[in-house]
Symmetry: C2
């Protein structure tokens, strides 16, 4: 359990509308939790080790609620296709390579190192269906010091032969074996149940996964209402469901039993969104991916008005960058186009609102995470924005906006703490 003090220019969200920024202030970590932020350091903390990041920005670690580790290698390639073609021609082709543990180790090492050096401190990660490669990924993620949930993917239909589990039983057995191997193995890496999406999981498999979820008390992540063709397909596959979300719900995998993330929700109907609210499902909003795959724009203003749980996802490699700074800017930008092109009563979301989503909004999935308020787990990232010179005086808030929009993170970060541990 760590106790120390950070000095710097401190930024954090209390709520959607309230982003605190403080020049030359002190952030105290006590027993790996946030104790408080002070403009003058109280004498009781003067004996604590001091990390002096004067003139640097100190922000809470950000949470990436949706990212595919095996797709990291081909991010930004073949971006001319839509979802279902892209899945068949890019994503699935790359994912087959992870039957080779050597390739997996090489590729996942690059992924883990990139995530470690990003502004992300927490992430929910899709692996592939390969049990061994998934364990390799979990070993590597645990070494980074980040806190992550990692999912062995389930898929037993509508996928290429060499990327398809041979039966629902085999998929379920592999899942149980993987969960038993990993559930208590790591310091900060945990298994998460990961049916890829309904089109690639048979009814039988979904039922078995629901049983596994209940037996092992696993959280769940999947995809929802990303693309109109996909939604139509789900309706054909699950003719009795009232919506795509209702199909998950009928299988018992839609948040009632376990904390659950659904990525995208571009075309969620009012009923589907209300079911998400009722069940406490987290939306992982992935604006870059929704643009790259020509999916559309999710109605984030509506979800905020409904008080849904919302966080951000980079969705590498539908999204091309692992930067949550980039994702914050993308979210603001896409909400402006939603307002302009789809619904001029849906006011664009603001920088403050989206900074909240990237930090405290998504952080909620991990507990008291994503803020510097008292008793929050101590995740912090230190950014050197002096690489962005300017002729005028700037407030800390203005510097934060510049750091985010101009991707100061692309030039590396100065320091990073997760749960009170300094990992960079």
């Amino acid at each position: 359990m760590k106790s120390f003090v950070i000095k710097g220019d401190i930024c954090y969200s209390k709520n959607k509308d309230n982003l605190i920024t403080l020049k030359d202030s002190y952030l105290v970590c006590e027993n790996s939790l946030c104790k408080g932020v002070y403009e003058e350091l109280p004498s009781e903390f003067c004996e604590y080790e001091l990390f002096d990041y004067t003139d640097k920005l100190v922000i809470p670690g950000l949470s990436d609620l949706h990212i595919h580790a095996p797709q990291f290698a081909f991010r930004s390639l073949n971006m001319d296709a839509e979802l279902l073609d892209w899945l068949n021609n890019s994503a699935f082709m790359e994912e087959t390579k992870y039957s080779d543990n050597d390739y997996a180790k090489r590729a996942y090492s690059i992924f883990a190192n990139s995530l470690k050096n990003s502004v992300t401190t927490r992430a929910c990660i899709f692996a592939t269906l390969h049990k061994d490669a998934t364990k390799i990924l979990m070993d590597l993620m645990d070494e980074t010091g980040l806190e992550t949930y990692v999912g062995k993917v389930n898929m037993d239909r509508n996928c290429p032969d060499n990327l398809c589990e041979s039966s629902a039983q085999r998929s379920a057995d592999d899942t149980v074996s993987w969960v038993l191997d990993t559930a208590d193995k790591y310091k900060s890496t945990y298994p998460i149940l990961t049916p890829r999406f309904i089109p690639s999981c048979s009814d039988e498999l979904m039922k078995k996964l629901a049983d596994i979820q209940r037996e092992y008390k696993l959280p769940v992540q999947s995809h929802l209402s990303e693309n109109k063709d996909e939604i139509k397909w789900v309706q054909e596959l699950c003719p009795k469901s009232k919506s795509y979300g209702d199909a998950y719900d009928k299988f018992g995998l839609f948040g009632k039993e376990a904390k659950t993330i659904m990525a995208h929700c571009v075309y969620s109907t009012k009923d589907e969104a209300e079911l998400m609210k009722k069940n406490g499902v987290f939306v992982a909003h992935c604006p870059a991916s929704n643009t790259n795959l020509s999916s559309g724009i999710a109605p984030i203003r509506r979800y905020l008005e409904m008080d849904l749980k919302v966080g951000l996802g980079t969705d590498v490699a539908g999204g091309h960058s692992e930067s949550l700074f980039r994702t914050i800017a993308d979210t603001v930008q896409m909400s402006k186009l939603y307002y302009r092109l789809i619904d001029n009563t849906a006011k664009p979301v603001t920088f403050n609102e989206v900074f909240f989503l990237a930090s405290k909004g998504g952080g909620e999935f991990f507990g008291k995470v994503g803020s510097f308020e008292k008793d929050y787990e101590f995740d912090a990232v230190v950014i050197d924005d002096s690489i962005l010179p300017h002729p005028q005086k700037l407030t800390v808030f203005e510097r934060l906006q510049r750091a985010v929009y101009l991707n100061a993170d692309f030039n590396g970060i100065t320091a990073k703490f997760v749960k009170g541990e300094k990992i960079i």
Copy 2:
């Protein structure tokens, strides 16, 4: 006049559909012009100096057809407003500072240095209405070695008192004085006539500017059909015009007499676009700005089908980044949303098409610029993409896509040549 050889992984567009990529090849510069690209170096060039950029990407310099130098200081700030509010509350407020030459020198030094270190080799730049500050900017731009057109802005109505020329005559006189001072002063910096946009230029001023254009044979840059409120306003100000573009045309400032750039063209009607085609007006497509200011998405596929002249603009600070790599990715992304949300018969533009727009498309404004074909002016940028590790083999084309989407330029560029001069 320079002659030398570059070795590296060479990428350039021949036309919209034909992007050439060559591993370990040779690009010959002879008398500051491109001589050719060769997989084996012909013996006649073996005596030339060789710059060895093995394993690095070598691309033509890119052209930024629309950027506001005085707005660079506040890029990415106050992005929650729409065009007309943003102009009044952000852009105009910053631009008043350029009556102070010391501030101008400080701010423009940062701008010039950033542009020098970007992938841009040519640019069309708005300054402010201040004659002296504009000359300071031109001095600084010339020192960079880039080739640029820089415009003292004209504005004599509908702007704050401290950012409004006192009369059309005064604006015209200042313009002539500035043109006489700068037209032949520089190695690679030239004046360009820059009426800000019709709402800020009286009829009298526009007529005088047309006279000045003809007398001094100046190119022209301005804004067109960016925002629906703006278009309505122009219609009120110029009730006899058939369109915003027609209003410029009636003043004689719409490409018939001089090469002309119009930024944005988000809402150009078919008639306006046809007039642009007839007059040879260049469209500066500025996707980041059009998103940030909630303007909309320009129908770039339509403009390509009509065979309009199109280049890209970063439009700092409506756009938040000076990176044309970022602008390429933005253009592809926004065209996907145009296809999805506005017109599903307008096929998204491809990476190849947009790389062409950023290089040869916009380069055409400057002459034979933006390609490595024979007799093109020798502009080249060398990018080290080894900062983006990958587990699999990649083609040169794949590496180019990654460098662009993942902004390898944010970590600096290895070398840069403009008209055969090595400037980095």
